[in-house]
Symmetry: C2
Subunit: 370 residues, 2 copies
């Protein structure tokens, strides 16, 4: 049945939105998609294994338009950001990007966007999968805040891989080489300026270009492909092997509203002196740590695709779950991301995991693979 | 390229959630899906045409688990509902379902759920595609309302088609025959009671069963399939041909946050005496009507799948768009749903439409086909 579902195709519609780069993605022979923020997100071109191997040695252009932006702009923009951000917005530099796990009043995670400070009164939140715009809008409407909350025509394009700097420099000039991690610069493309940040959902290095104006999508795509021919540039996408090896969490898979930032291992991002939403609820975990937490895991034996949370069992008792798992050709094991109870989260602990294809042995690791 | 994308498969993950009925849907040979509220929604089994023809003569069981519920419960539940609902909640009967186009402060639509009154202090909102939960949560958190806002373990299963009453009566008893349109009764299944409403996203008649408890999913699915064998029951899904013929709008396709309820032709649902969010912004359209509105359209010639908004052009000027279009074997024309400017919305008006496959002739119709 697994197979049958994986053979099922996506029905095109306006609601499941195409992106400014979809024509390029299709021409490059995309083989699989997911849907993310009501938009198409490529998941595979050649194969997960071949895509990962290529990413680690070359440079790829990723259509991550589905990282939709929420624009928060107006006199009350900072006030609203202080309400929803567990990080100290006061410390944010003018050219900085902040990874901010947004929580509800109980400390449950609603999203984990990257916030970009465009001006004192203007921020973008680059979203994980979920309509966080509606949470911000609800707060702003209820309090009558002087702030515009919109989804602008901005589609991120990620340039990832060890040759990313070289490719970017050829298109935008050497200025991009000077962009620091999670900082941005505004660089020229044709008659526009784009925000370019050193960031991206891999640990192979690279950039995210916040392409403002759908009409610039394919011209930029084509320019990058032409400029990178001798760098063996290819269309790529976030790779499920590389991101699990790297310990990059997927909101909705590895953590949900059921989890706090501390459970997701993101406690270091909760340092705001302001009374952000959820602060009181999180105080106890801030002091004593969470009852469960994200852990790197290795699963023995053959496993199929992880399409639901796999229970972790110790003596028949549920002690957590695994929601991301895949075989890593580089490390020769099934790499996985688990949410494990304190009683079983120490490195070396062996736990039973109930996969869709039978019981397997899972072992808590000391660290992720990079 | 169109074709290439339609051949691309969906990558399974926990984030794109399976449903309590997914095993049954896969066993029935689902051929295509969409993703709706972070969940799999089947879109085709045999073919769009064959599925539509079968629906119109028999009875189908639809996995519409993706109509996720937002549970609004607590002393302030009605207060919050009055804030967000353009319909007069005071008039809502205890067993009633209300179609409510929810708007932001500018009158832009955020969702168009069906609200179900479970108790004076407990409502479910059965969502179209979008995390309206976050809007309600934002309001509740900002105002400190005494209300719990959760997504319960409730997965709607729709029974649609002319033989729906007979099939439902066989499984739940004749009590279901007495359920009026957009009213509900609580009916027994095994050791549970489910809310069963006469509703559903077709005009072939039928019910929606709000299955509370994922573990009851496949037992109910199997019971219905067994009970309906001689009724020629089949696994089905919302059908894009039947729903366009019927003028059933898809939020995210036919209307978005850019549109008001009046533009969507839903003005009759905006009758609340309360100061609901957006009421002031909508006052002018309430008086004078909207500048554009949903219209049934017929498009001449061959058309491919409608995967983006097709501009409507009159003398080179944009006068609207079409976001849903498909060939109807029953009516022998391409049926479509347009959003058309006042200047061109009169029945019989002929407009040019720019499809992905060339310019076509579109004609505004008097009414939808049923």
């Amino acid at each position: 049945m697994q197979g049958e579902r994986r053979m099922a195709t996506i029905t095109p519609s306006r609601r499941v939105r195409r992106t400014p780069f979809s024509d390029g993605v299709e021409a490059a022979g995309v083989k699989a998609y997911t849907v993310y923020n009501h938009m198409l997100l490529p998941t595979m071109f050649e194969s997960l294994e071949a895509d990962a191997a290529h990413l680690k040695q070359n440079v790829q252009v990723w259509d991550v338009s589905c990282e939709r932006q929420v624009s928060v702009r107006g006199p009350d923009a900072l006030r609203l950001m202080r309400m929803v951000s567990p990080r100290d917005m006061g410390r944010m530099a003018d050219d900085q990007c902040y990874y901010v796990p947004i929580t509800d009043h109980r400390g449950g995670m609603l999203n984990d966007p990257v916030a970009i400070k465009l001006a004192q009164d203007h921020y973008w939140l680059s979203l994980a999968d979920g309509d966080l715009l509606q949470f911000l809008l609800g707060i702003a409407v209820a309090l009558g805040l002087e702030v515009e909350i919109e989804e602008p025509d901005v589609s991120p394009l990620a340039i990832q891989g060890p040759k990313a700097d070289e490719l970017m420099a050829r298109v935008f000039g050497d200025v991009v080489r000077g962009i620091r991690f999670f900082r941005y610069k505004r660089v020229r493309f044709e008659d526009r300026e784009f925000v370019v940040a050193r960031s991206g959902w891999s640990k192979q290095g690279g950039f995210e270009i916040y392409v403002e104006g759908a009409e610039y999508g394919m011209p930029l795509w084509n320019r990058l492909m032409a400029a990178g021919e001798d760098l063996n540039v290819r269309a790529g996408c976030p790779n499920n092997i590389e991101r699990i090896e790297s310990g990059l969490l997927g909101y909705g898979s590895d953590m949900t509203r059921e989890n706090t930032p501390y459970e997701a291992g993101l406690g270091r991002f909760c340092n705001s002196p302001d009374d952000f939403i959820g602060k009181t609820a999180l105080a106890e975990q801030a002091r004593n740590g969470p009852p469960r937490q994200i852990r790197p895991m290795v699963i023995d034996g053959e496993i199929g695709p992880c399409t639901r949370a796999w229970p972790l069992l110790a003596g028949g008792r549920r002690v957590g779950q695994i929601a991301s798992a895949v075989f890593s050709p580089e490390f020769g094991v099934n790499v996985a991301i688990g949410m494990v109870d304190r009683s079983h989260w120490d490195p070396g602990t062996v736990i039973e995991v109930e996969t869709e294809h039978g019981m397997r042995r899972a072992t808590v690791q000391e660290r992720f693979w990079r």
